[in-house]
């Protein structure tokens, strides 16, 4: 069969190329340019070579912020993915409760990040907040503005409350799309619920779970607004994640050079992990 050669379709891609150029590539190029220069404002730049990269990569401060960021993302993924999957499995597939559940699940996702931060800030206050009063009332000392563990606990709880719904909705959509024939076949074979989950539901959910892990990884690795509003990076630097540290360097100290270098390292880490997750999970697909 002869294949018709028609390259006109490339023109349809042009708007996307332009859009990506303006919102991603040009800003990224600018950051690369900043990362090798020193500036004191007034659009005056001086060549600095790779000095900022060396400085950032060898600084204790960067290592600590990166460590906190990785720990936070790991905790959040370990909780949200299994929890989201479990909730999706227990949600009804038919009947009037479907809409109720879906709306309830979607609600946290509709709330802006800074509002989520402010809500949890007040909710967890030890003196007037409902959660803070409750935990202290149980005899456990809890103050997220002073104790590191409390701050982390509140931060993780907030993120789980805000984003588990996303995993639930993605998994639910995946579950609903599994044809009934699979379940009927499992029933004929006398499969137990665990076998149905392991050999039917989980394999069929692979792609939505890939998307869920990728989205949750990228979002939690870049968490900024909620964390700033809730703790502002404190107590001390206990919840100063990479994004908060970056903002302090870039806008607080106006060190555009080191901030540029840090942004690129940050970007490369996210790019690497996203590629890794995607590749590992799609590995069997090609065969």
């Amino acid at each position: 069969m002869n294949k018709t050669v028609n390259q006109k379709a490339w023109f349809f891609v042009l708007p996307v190329v332009l859009l990506v150029a303006f919102n991603a590539i040009i800003p990224l190029m600018t950051v690369v340019n900043f990362s090798v220069q020193e500036t004191f404002g007034d659009n005056m730049f001086f060549w600095a070579g790779v000095r900022w990269f060396e400085q950032v990569l060898q600084s204790e401060r960067f290592h600590a912020a990166l460590g906190r960021q990785i720990l936070f993302t790991a905790i959040v993924l370990l909780i949200e993915i299994p929890l989201g999957l479990a909730i999706a499995l227990t949600m009804p597939r038919k009947g009037p409760w479907v809409s109720v559940c879906l709306v309830l699940m979607a609600l946290p996702l509709l709330i802006p990040w800074n509002v989520v931060g402010a809500m949890w800030n007040i909710f967890a206050l030890p003196d007037i907040g409902l959660l803070g009063r409750l935990i202290n009332g149980l005899g456990i000392e809890y103050n997220y503005t002073r104790q590191i563990f409390s701050a982390w606990f509140t931060m993780v709880l907030m993120d789980v409350w805000h984003w588990t719904s996303l995993v639930v909705l993605l998994c639910y959509a995946g579950l609903v799309s599994i044809p009934d024939a699979y379940y009927q076949a499992a029933k004929v074979d006398g499969a137990r619920p665990w076998a149905v989950f392991r050999y039917i539901q989980l394999p069929k959910l692979k792609y939505v779970l890939t998307i869920a892990i990728l989205l949750r990884f990228m979002d939690s690795f870049m968490i900024y607004t909620e964390a700033v509003v809730l703790t502002g990076g404190g107590p001390g630097n206990a919840t100063t994640f990479l994004s908060i540290d970056l903002q302090k360097i870039a806008l607080g100290q106006f060190d555009l050079g080191p901030a540029g270098a840090m942004s690129i390292i940050y970007f490369l880490i996210i790019l690497f992990f996203s590629w890794l997750f995607y590749t590992l999970m799609m590995k069997d697909e090609a065969r």
């Binding site: 900043f34 090798v36 790779v50 990569l57 390292i265 690497f272 590629w275």
Partner: protein, 97 residues
């Protein structure tokens, strides 16, 4: 570059411009290679991954970036060492991955 007011906010330097030009030329080079010698369809490499030529370029570039970062973090300048490692690495990726 300061006299080009349109670009001055981007704070271009010759080395960074050369860097992006290099990446752009890599992409063009890959297209030309594929046009004259098609063969970019996925193949199964030593990592157990199915990669196209474009994937291998991506792995080479991303890996090279981390080679340079690791060198800067552990050793420092000059950067001839990581350049050599990155070239060997990219060659290995195109050959076997």
């Amino acid at each position: 570059m300061e006299n080009a007011a349109f670009l001055s906010w981007m704070a271009w330097t010759w080395p960074t411009a050369a860097f992006f030009l290099f990446i752009f030329l890599c992409l063009v080079g890959m297209s030309v290679w594929e046009y004259y010698s098609p063969g970019g369809t996925p193949r199964h490499g030593i990592l157990g991954l199915d990669t196209t030529r474009g994937d291998r370029l991506f792995i080479s570039l991303l890996g090279s970036a981390f080679i340079f970062l690791a060198w800067l973090g552990l050793v420092g300048t000059p950067l001839w060492g990581p350049l050599a490692i990155a070239l060997v690495y990219a060659f290995a990726v195109f050959k076997w991955v």
